[in-house]
């Protein structure tokens, strides 16, 4: 595992850049644990200060030190993305492995359900959730809803790998040795799909954080919880671009772009690395 990392950093520029970007953002988000102020409180600093030695990222019109506020916002958003990714990975692994290994009508039914989930436009449904739940819709509820819609693409991918594993020698050995289906899937097949799980993990985070930003910017989440989206929501509602507090918009946008590019580059380079064809070339077969 360590050697793989070393190789990737050394020979894959995309991976190295992605790792640096994501690393910076993770450290930045982790700083929030040492924040001197509670990021949810307002009017703790002089409002509308441009970036300076005292306030690195400036302050906003609500009297928040943007450095600490954004640090907390990124921690919340990254945490949100990870929650959705973990939950939806669990669904996609279960569905993908079961459909691929069991085949037959189980496969057909699961893939039909899969196709339905792919086709339903999630955004109106999320808005409806917010409309009904209003302030009862906290981040975890939203993570749950997104996880319910974030699995089908990856389940299909995992299924295609599982289909190939089914007819391999070691599966037959395991079955003849009396292993239960659950055990075959968890102990024999799961390790093979883990690389896909990792690379889709990042893509899923991108998607869920993007959804959160979108909903929050429209004001359709708990706007008092600092996240990437709510920072922009407040900046918009105070017309930051118009009144000249540009740093309130520009700095978060730069940080968002860094996060998204970093995660994306990691996903792309890992994808290339685990692609069986490029692996073959690496081994020189």
């Amino acid at each position: 595992m360590f050697a793989v990392f070393r190789d990737l950093i050394r020979y894959n520029l995309e991976f190295a850049i992605g790792l640096v970007l994501v690393g910076i953002m993770v450290i930045f988000a982790a700083l929030s644990f040492f924040s001197p102020v509670d990021p949810t409180l307002i009017y703790m600093a002089i409002p509308d200060q441009p970036p300076s030695a005292q306030y690195w990222f400036g302050t906003n019109s609500r009297g928040q030190d943007l450095f600490w506020h954004l640090s907390a916002a990124f921690r919340n958003s990254l945490g949100f993305g990870i929650t959705v990714a973990v939950l939806s990975r669990i669904i996609s692994i279960s569905v993908g492995l079961a459909a691929g290994y069991l085949g037959g009508w189980v496969d057909r039914v699961l893939m039909f359900i899969n196709d339905i989930f792919v086709a339903v436009p999630i955004f109106p449904i999320l808005v409806l959730f917010y409309f009904v739940l209003r302030n009862n819709m906290d981040s975890f509820t939203m993570a749950l809803i997104l996880a319910c819609f974030g699995w089908p693409f990856d389940a299909r991918l995992i299924r295609s790998v599982a289909l190939g594993l089914k007819h391999r020698e070691f599966t037959r050995h395991a079955v003849f040795a009396g292993m239960s289906t659950r055990k075959v899937l968890l102990e024999e097949h799961l390790p093979y799909v883990m690389p896909i799980v990792f690379s889709t993990f990042m893509n899923n985070m991108l998607w869920s954080i993007g959804m959160e930003v979108t909903l929050a910017v429209l004001g359709f989440t708990n706007i008092n919880n600092p996240t990437i989206g709510t920072v922009l929501y407040w900046a918009n509602s105070h017309s930051a671009m118009v009144v000249g507090t540009w740093w309130w918009i520009v700095i978060p946008v730069i940080l968002i772009v860094m996060t998204f590019l970093g995660l994306f580059l990691l996903a792309v380079s890992m994808n290339e690395y685990i692609d069986p064809r490029s692996r073959l070339r690496r081994m020189g077969a």
């Binding site: 086709a119 808005v127 009904v132 930003v213």
Partner: protein
């Protein structure tokens, strides 16, 4: 022919399943929510004095008919469907007494127009460039194009639209950033109006295209770099078949089959993007309507937008699916 019908039948079944499932999910969301939608909405309404008593009464009537409190779930579910199929979701609260469905139908052409043009442009440009980048792997122009589009691809729709808004609204104001047409032209089939509509659609469509390009580019490039190693391509190259024929008829043509399947799979996501883009550019489509309706507590309109979105997306996917057998002869005879 038999294979074709079978394929169409399967896809139609899926379309109905999507509509059924999506709308049932809508029902469940409202039914299972801990808050009684009727009382919650009406409670908030009565706090506002600017609404006429008839409007509130009409909403109460529509909501109780649909979510009739106190009735068992299956009865409510049945009522819900009956009203939906009749297309009657009650009057809109924001624009009383206009029926909610009528508001949605007014917004729909804008949204569909935006969705259709941007999807077609994105699909063609993204696949063409991605395909060429996959075939001519050392071409600098395609590489640069790829880096730009791939860099934009992961950024959320909202952020890209917002950056474009800032650029064209504040830094370089050459294009209209708000609305569907100029205030000084009257909606009619005249040249000035059509031009105004096109002009206003440029930025929203452009932002959708920018975000969408990367996905098609990456997908097509990967597909093509696989297909060029296929025997039939190597063989055609060995036979000295013309370059243009190989690129278009052998490489791209084969890569198109999975890409059209992918098109059907992303329509739902693109629809969400359209809604967001509309909101940013204040475009008079279903997206803006949805956001306004949520902010106004207009239950009927929110439900109408959701219903129509789910149905429209499912139908669009069905149409794209119908293209698949035309592109892939293997599906026709299966």
């Amino acid at each position: 022919m038999h294979g074709y019908l079978l394929f169409v039948g399967k896809r139609a079944l899926l379309m109905f399943a999507v509509i059924f499932f999506g709308i049932s999910a809508m029902f469940l969301v409202t039914y299972l929510s801990p808050i009684d939608p009727v009382e919650q909405v009406l409670g908030r309404l009565s706090a506002r004095s600017n609404l006429s008593p008839e409007a509130i009464a009409s909403t109460r009537e529509a909501l109780t008919a649909m979510f009739g409190t106190g009735q068992p779930m299956h009865v409510q579910y049945w009522n819900f469907w009956t009203r939906l199929i009749q297309g009657d979701l009650g009057a809109s609260l924001m624009a009383f007494p206009t029926p909610a469905m009528e508001l949605v139908m007014r917004g729909m052409p804008w949204t569909l127009g935006l969705l259709l043009t941007s999807t077609v442009i994105t699909f063609i440009v993204g696949n063409l460039m991605g395909g060429l980048a996959g075939y001519f792997q050392n071409n600098r122009f395609f590489k640069a194009f790829g880096i730009v589009t791939m860099g934009l691809q992961p950024i959320p729709y909202y952020i890209v639209a917002f950056i474009i808004l800032v650029i064209f609204g504040f830094l370089w104001p050459v294009l209209p950033i708000s609305g569907g047409f100029s205030m000084d032209v009257r909606p009619s089939w005249t040249m000035p109006f059509i031009l105004s509509v096109l002009q206003h659609s440029l930025l929203p469509a452009f932002s959708l295209v920018l975000v969408g390009l990367g996905g098609w580019f990456i997908g097509m490039r990967a597909l093509v770099s696989n297909i060029v190693t296929e025997d039939y391509v190597t063989y055609a190259e060995l036979a000295g078949v013309k370059r243009e024929t190989i690129v278009s008829g052998y490489v791209m043509r084969n890569a198109l089959v999975p890409q059209v399947t992918a098109l059907a799979m992303v329509i739902g996501g693109v629809f969400s993007g359209t809604i967001i883009t509309e909101q940013v550019f204040n475009y008079p489509g279903m997206g803006s309507l949805l956001v306004d309706a949520v902010n106004a507590g207009d239950y009927s309109t929110v439900l109408a937008v959701c219903t129509v979105s789910i149905t429209a997306v499912a139908f669009a996917i069905f149409i794209v699916d119908l293209l698949h057998p035309l592109l892939d002869p293997r599906v026709r005879t299966e």
